[in-house]
C-alpha cells in the first residue's frame, strides 16, 4: 500500500441555480489573458445538452480517456505510445477552436462616441478576438443555458433515449452541471503528455502543467475525456484548472468554491492507495464505481492513520481527512457519484445527482412531489431522468443512480415529517438503510453546512512557510502566467504578437 492524499471536491447539483458565478470568478482569476479568451477552467453547462466544447462526451469522436483492449488491459482510447507519436505532426483527435467557440469583444466605444441626433440607437458590434474582424456570435461556453440552445436531443448521453425525450417534451427536465478539471487518480492527459510536462502532485494529487517543460504537443487536450486541458494559442502551451493550488496550499478553498452562491461545493482530502489505482481502473464497467470507492482509504482506520504518519503526513492532515465532507458524501452516505466513471480516469470531482428532474417529473405526472411514496414511484416509473443520470454518473447503472435519488427523496420526506409532524419516519430509514443520526447529519451537510464544514482544507506543511521569505515574489508572476508582473521579465522569443 502506498498512501497518498488527494484534495477532492463534491458538488451538490440540486443546489446549482446556474448563475455562473464560479465560472466568472475563475475566469477573472486564471484565464482573462490573451490566448485564453476561449478557455473556461470552470464552466457550467445545462444538461441535457452537448456541453463545452461541443459533444465533448462523444469519445467515439474525440478518443479521450481509457478503455479496455481485447485482452482486458487498460489502454488510452487514442492508442499506444508509438501511435500517439506517429500523429504528433497533426493530431486527428484535437478539437478546433470552433468546437469551443470563437471569442468576441465589442466596440463599446460606439455607445458614447456616436454622434448625437441619430434616429437609431447606436449598437455595439461584435469583433473576433482571434482575427479582429467583425463577426457574428454563433456559439459560446454556455450557449445552451437553460435549454436555450435547442441542442438537447444531440446530447451523447441520450443515445437510445432521444426519441422518448422528444415525444415527452412536456415532461422535459434540465439541470446545471458545473465542471472543472477532475484531477483524476489515473489521468489520461498526464499519460498522453509526450514531454512529461504534466504531473500529479505527490502532496495533494493536483494535476498541473509545468509551463517550462510543455512543448506544445497538444496530446493532453485530446486525451482528456472531459476536455479540461486547453491550448493557450498565444503561448503555444497547455493550460488547465489548477485547483487554485496557491489557495489550497494556504488552507483556502478554490475560488469557484469560495464564490459559489448556492454553497453547493464541498472540499476535503481523501486518503487513497496509489498501488490500487491501476486495478480499479481495469475492472468491467459495472464494477467501476465500487472499485473506485475501494481505492479510498478509511480515514478513521488506525492502520490507515499510522500509514499516513509513516509516509510523513502531518497530524493536521490526518485530522482533516476525518473531518472531510468529501469522504462523508462519497463513502459514508454514498450519495456522491463520479462524472463518467466509464472513462476510467478515476475522476476526483464527484456529484450528488439532482433530485429536481425527478421532482419535476412527479409534478408533471400529477403526483405529490413532497410524498416519499409518490417520488419513489416516480423514480421507478419515469426511467428517462434516472437513465439519463445513470449515463452521466454510474456508467449506465440505473439501480445505483435510482438508489441515490431514493436516499435524497427519503431524506427530504424524513426531515419533513420530523419538522412538521414531529414524527420519526422509521420506514423511510429502513428503506434506505441509514440511521436517524446519519440522515440528520447528511441533511445538515447538504442543507445548512457552514463554511468550515464545507471546506476542510489543511494548509500545506507549515514547517516550510518560513522559507517563503527567500522566494521574493509570486511564483505565478511569470510571463504569460496569471500573475503577469513583478520581478524581471523573462526572455521570450516569438511568443508575442502585435495587436
Amino acid at each position: 500500500m502506498r498512501i497518498r492524499a488527494q484534495v477532492a471536491m463534491v458538488m451538490n447539483l440540486d443546489k446549482c441555480i446556474g448563475c455562473h458565478t464560479c465560472s466568472v470568478t475563475c475566469k477573472q482569476t486564471w484565464t482573462n489573458r490573451e490566448g485564453t479568451e476561449y478557455v473556461w477552467f470552470n464552466n457550467v453547462e445545462t444538461k441535457p445538452g452537448i456541453g463545452y466544447p461541443k459533444h465533448y462526451e462523444d469519445q467515439e469522436r474525440w478518443k479521450g480517456g481509457w478503455k479496455l483492449d481485447g485482452k482486458g488491459r487498460l489502454v488510452l482510447r487514442s492508442g499506444g505510445r508509438a501511435k500517439r507519436l506517429s500523429r504528433i505532426f497533426a493530431n486527428p483527435d484535437l478539437p478546433a477552436i470552433d468546437d469551443y467557440y470563437e471569442p468576441a469583444t465589442f466596440d463599446k466605444d460606439i455607445l458614447v462616441s456616436a454622434p448625437g441626433g441619430l434616429t437609431d440607437t447606436p449598437v455595439k458590434k461584435p469583433y473576433s478576438k482571434l482575427t479582429g474582424e467583425p463577426m457574428s456570435i454563433e456559439w459560446g461556453a454556455n450557449w445552451e443555458d437553460s435549454l436555450g440552445g435547442d441542442t438537447m436531443d444531440q446530447d451523447p448521453n441520450l443515445r437510445g433515449l432521444a426519441d422518448k425525450v422528444k415525444f415527452e417534451f412536456e415532461k422535459t427536465f434540465m439541470f446545471h452541471l458545473p465542471r472543472i478539471c477532475e484531477h483524476c487518480l489515473n489521468p489520461a492527459c498526464v499519460s498522453a503528455c509526450p514531454s512529461g510536462a504534466m504531473y500529479k502532485r505527490e502532496e495533494d494529487g493536483i494535476v498541473l502543467v509545468d509551463q517550462d517543460r510543455c512543448r506544445g504537443w497538444r496530446m493532453c487536450v485530446s486525451a482528456c475525456p472531459y476536455k479540461k486541458v486547453y491550448v493557450n494559442h498565444a503561448t503555444g502551451k497547455a493550460e488547465k484548472c489548477t485547483f487554485c493550488f496557491p489557495r489550497i496550499e494556504a488552507g483556502q478553498p478554490t475560488i469557484c468554491s469560495e464564490t459559489c452562491v448556492g454553497r453547493l461545493r464541498y472540499l476535503g482530502i481523501l486518503w487513497y492507495d496509489e498501488d490500487a489505482v491501476l486495478a480499479a481502473a481495469t475492472v468491467p464497467d459495472e464494477e467501476l464505481l465500487d472499485a473506485q470507492r475501494g481505492v479510498f482509504l478509511d480515514p478513521f482506520d488506525p492502520a490507515v492513520q499510522q500509514a499516513a504518519r509513516d509516509a510523513g503526513h502531518p497530524e493536521e492532515w490526518i485530522e482533516a481527512a476525518m473531518a472531510s465532507p468529501v469522504w462523508k458524501l462519497i463513502s459514508e452516505y454514498r450519495i456522491a457519484l463520479p462524472l463518467h466513471p466509464e472513462y476510467r480516469t478515476l475522476p476526483m470531482v464527484w456529484y450528488v445527482p439532482p433530485l429536481s428532474p425527478v421532482l419535476d417529473a412527479a409534478g408533471a405526472a400529477g403526483r405529490d412531489d413532497t410524498d416519499a411514496d409518490d417520488i419513489f414511484h416516480t423514480i421507478d416509473d419515469l426511467r428517462i431522468p434516472v437513465a439519463y443520470l445513470a449515463s452521466l454518473f454510474t456508467a449506465g447503472d440505473t439501480a445505483v443512480a435510482g438508489g441515490v435519488l431514493m436516499k435524497l427523496a427519503a431524506m427530504r420526506a424524513y426531515m419533513r415529517a420530523r419538522t412538521l409532524d414531529g414524527t420519526v419516519a422509521r420506514e423511510l430509514l429502513d428503506g434506505i438503510g441509514m440511521t436517524a443520526d446519519q440522515v440528520e447529519a447528511m441533511y445538515r451537510l447538504l442543507a445548512i453546512a457552514k463554511y468550515d464544514e464545507r471546506y476542510v482544507i489543511p494548509a500545506a506543511h507549515a514547517k516550510t512557510a518560513a522559507a517563503l521569505e527567500d522566494l521574493g515574489g509570486c511564483s505565478l508572476d511569470g510571463d504569460g502566467g496569471p500573475g503577469m508582473g513583478g520581478g524581471p521579465v523573462p526572455v521570450i522569443l516569438s511568443t508575442r504578437r502585435g495587436q
Binding site: A90, Y199, R201, D212, W217, K237, E249, A462, D479, S494
Partner: protein
Amino acid sequence: MSTFVWIVVPYVCVGMFVGGHIWRWRHDQFGWTTHTSQILENRLLRLGSPLFHLGAFGVIAGHAMGLLVPASWTHALGVSEHVYHLVSVTGGVVTGVMLVAGLTLLIARRFVSGRIRRVTTTMDKVLYAALAAMVVLGMSGTVVINLFGEGYDYRETLAVWFRQIFHLQPDPSLMTGAPLVFQLHAIGGFLFLAMWPFTRLVHVWSAPLAYLWRPYVVYRGRRGPAPAPQPAPSAVRTVSAARPSAQPSVRPAVQPSDQPDRPTVKA
C-alpha cells in the same frame, strides 16, 4: 574574400548555433515550444504538417549521407557512381517534393487563415522565408543541375570542405569552383543554422522519444516552499472585531517565522 565566406562565416554560424541553443535553453524554457496553432486551423495543417515533417526527415537523412559519408567509403562497398547518383537523385527528388508541398501548404495557411496570420510572429516570417529560400536552392541543385543538367559531383568538393570544417582545416579553394547554386545553398545552410536557436525550430531537440519508455502517470513533489497558511475567515473576523479602531486588515500581521501552526484563533 573566399577565406571570409568559406572559413569565417561557417565557424561564426556554428558558434551561434551552439551558443544560441545554450543561451536559449537556459533563459527561455517558457518560449521553447512547437507553438502549435492546430486548434486555430486544421484543414491545411492536417496535410501540410506531416508532409513537411516527413519530407524534412528524408532531406536531413539525405544531407547526412551526402555530406558525412566520404565517396571512398561507398566505392569501397562496391557502390558504383551511377547507382549512388540514382539513389541520391531519386531520394532527393521524392523527399524534396514532399518538403516543397508541405512547406507550400504551411505557408499558404499563414496567408489564407486570418486567425493564423494574427499569431504569426516576425520570427516565423523570417523562418518561413529562409526555409523557402533553402528549399528552392537545394531543389534547383538537385533537379536543375543533377537531374537535367550536366551534373555536379559535390562529394569530391563541397562534402570534403564540409567535413574539413569539423577537422578545423577547411580549404576554401574546394568551394570557389562550385556552381553558384551550390555555393549559395552551402553558405545559406550555415546561416540557417545560425538562425535556428532563435526560432521555433528548437522544438526539434525536444522530440519526445523518452515518452516511449517512461511510466504513464508522472508524480512530482512540490518544488520550493509552501506559502504561509492563511487564517480562516472566522479568525479574521475575530481579529478585526477585537480591534475596531485599527485599520481593517484582511490578513493579521503574523510573521511566517513565528507562526508554528495554522492560526485558528476562535472566539
